[in-house]
Symmetry: C2
Subunit: 419 residues, 2 copies
């Protein structure tokens, strides 16, 4: 019972992150070559420079007829001009006007400098009527317009999306160097935890944070390593942390980090080595008992056992950490939306509060309905919400009707906006 | 050259989608049981109903002391009340006031109905001073508060996010039934295409759409099957489509779908069987030559060979299709943001125009800068943009300073919004 005293001091989130990152001096993970076909969503480890122009020749941007643009001078709907058709590689350079059929993407024949779109042409016996005047390079994709030889096509630290893969492939790349997925060891602690599907006593609950934290690691495309559950026993926790340090790039624990009698994780972390726990107790709600540490130069995140607090701690501390380990150009953040609070919410002054809300369309606006429940153990508040609002330390809540920025972790209900 | 005539008629996107879906009568893919640890991002195939209350007992939402709430009546900072400490399973039900230490998540002992937070207590020799009055069930997570026995915990058609996994695990589930990933065959066509890394002649370009479309399938968690490149030859295209129909749930082709002389894919599709092509030519820019079909009851999407047009066609037609094949409750859409156009953009009347833009923060607002290039072959417009604006058929463009809704396919630059 001697530990029952609450936190002596809470550290502001910004300060906690700063202190932790300063101690960690985070290195980007190693790089590895992968085939382009396996590079989706990986993070590029080096600038990829174009070794040729893209396109590598002037090409038609439309289906139509390649012409010398000056030959179209004066052409109009009422007064079309007649062109001779040719299939030659080079447009004859004197005499009458010539037009060569070209499909989208095909090289512009030598001598031509523009393309007339199909719909501005009309077949007239063996010739072609053109009813529009085109400027030089009209409907032509110029050589190097997409990317120039020597230019950086995709920058180091880019998460490779489908269109990056297309660009890299179009430039002839078949392999790319990407950042290895950081390995993150996940450890749950607590005598009260039983594995789902196993026997449990009447005070035990089914463990549920590991599968969740593994999922959150997968969301950022890292490799979670599930180390199972440790009992509330310093030696057992120490042992699992040591395994984690051996096989992973970072260790995340969940549970046993408050100041209760069975909150042994910070003690275990300090027993493993120096500096151990760097910050413990954050001015944030939920996730106040979060602790941040370092062992063998590797980050150790000590998250609450409450699922919502664990999620919040992960969002605030693990997300920016992982983004740095991946060498991302910038932190990947959740999309945001402005919405009006449907009712007021009280929050604690001096803490950064994460208020879960359900955003929905209301006429032309978005409304944010607080999804409340006692404590941060209520995981269904996350499945019912689709975002969170951050109430800063100097506020005591949100007013009804107040416009807030919601950070979305799930879709807002709406129809197909494209059709 | 006989085919050089342009489309006779363009179909509006909404009508095209409707017609196609009516013909397809899309069935959700089969279901399959997977361990919960492999269920991240899969789509739930059936409602999961809670088989017990969660929590299954009243539990403490904080670290503190379980008490009978009525015993705290009148307690205050200046006039705290003294409680005897007990470790009994049941709070003694008469005589003096009793308090039992409880950590967050522990069951409330019988007889108690509230918890006093640690910070409102003070040890006084063998007793505990309590300086706050608590209401019945104050700081208590009630049995069934999260999910009640018999209640649907997670609905069929939900994409399983980390917090869904937590909820399912907390309810004792170790396996879940999810929807099988739709298999999507990807075929590129065109004599002008050479595989990256291979020899090419001077008119050929490196093929780049397959790796992109495979990535777009992966983004929606489906299984792309890359069938390679077919030459502009009806038999070769037919053969690949037939393979696709054999091994996949849907077929996507790219290239050869305009009305040029080498646009043989619609012809090949019609050769494979009935009904073949259902819609060809959409009032949309880019992606006008997109065609939609059905063979052996399976969807066939005939996308443009231009990468940006292929992306647009995929967004408009493949995305809602895949969402239905996955049995998703609702179509997964891209996040949106309101932004002000930095300059005007002209678009074609009578077409739905997809204007690529780069959204960036500008003071307290978002600005959208058009990322323009000739034609839709310029893939770097996608890597430089982070979203698109849809200009409807009855508009001829966007004005400078106009507020538009941007559909984001990549992050907007900003700092960590959480800290």
């Amino acid at each position: 019972m001697s530990k029952l005293r609450g936190f002596q001091k809470l550290t502001f989130t910004y300060e906690a992150l700063q202190t932790w990152f300063n101690a960690l001096q985070i290195q980007r993970c190693r790089e590895v070559s992968v085939p382009l076909t396996e590079a989706f969503n990986r993070v590029l480890a080096e600038d990829v420079v174009a070794k040729e122009d893209l396109p590598r020749f002037d090409r038609s941007a439309v289906d139509g007829f390649a012409v010398r643009s000056e030959d179209t001078n004066g052409a109009s709907q009422p007064k079309p001009l007649l062109f001779r058709l040719t299939d030659a590689e080079v447009l004859p350079d004197n005499g009458p006007r010539y037009a060569k059929p070209v499909w989208t993407g095909q090289p512009i024949p030598k001598g031509a400098d523009a393309v007339v779109m199909l719909e501005h042409t009309q077949k007239k016996e063996e010739k072609m009527e053109i009813s529009v005047q085109v400027a030089p390079y009209g409907n032509v994709s110029r050589q190097g317009e997409d990317v120039k030889n020597g230019e950086t096509a995709v920058k180091q630290g880019t998460r490779l999306k489908p269109y990056h893969l297309a660009l890299l492939s179009a430039l002839g790349n078949t392999e790319v160097k990407v950042v290895e997925k950081p390995k993150i060891a996940i450890i749950a602690t607590g005598n009260e935890l039983a594995e789902a599907g196993t026997e449990r006593n009447e005070k035990q609950i089914y463990e549920s944070n590991r599968v969740m934290l593994c999922g959150m690691c997968c969301e950022l495309d890292t490799e979670p390593l599930d180390l199972g559950v440790a009992k509330d026993n310093v030696e057992e926790i120490v042992e699992k942390i040591q395994i984690g340090l051996k096989i992973a790039d970072a260790v995340i624990t969940t549970g046993g980090t408050s100041v209760g009698g069975l909150d042994l994780v910070p003690e275990a972390v300090n027993k493993v080595g120096e500096p151990g726990v760097i910050v413990h107790g954050i001015a944030i709600r939920p996730a106040m008992p979060t602790a941040l540490g370092m062992l063998e130069g590797k980050p150790v995140m000590i998250l609450s056992g409450n699922p919502v607090a664990a999620i919040t701690g992960f969002e605030i501390f693990a997300r920016p950490l992982i983004c740095k380990m991946l060498g991302l150009q910038k932190e990947e953040t959740r999309p945001t939306v402005e919405a009006k609070m449907t009712r007021k919410v009280a929050t604690a002054l001096g803490r950064k509060n994460f208020v879960r809300v359900r955003v929905f369309q209301k006429n032309d606006d978005f409304a944010a309905e607080p999804v409340s429940a006692k404590g941060s153990g209520t995981i269904s508040t996350m499945t019912r919400a689709n975002g969170y609002v951050i109430v800063p330390e100097n506020r005591e809540g949100l007013a009804e009707g107040e416009t807030v920025t919601v950070h979305l972790f799930a879709d807002v209900e709406s129809g197909n906006p494209n059709v």
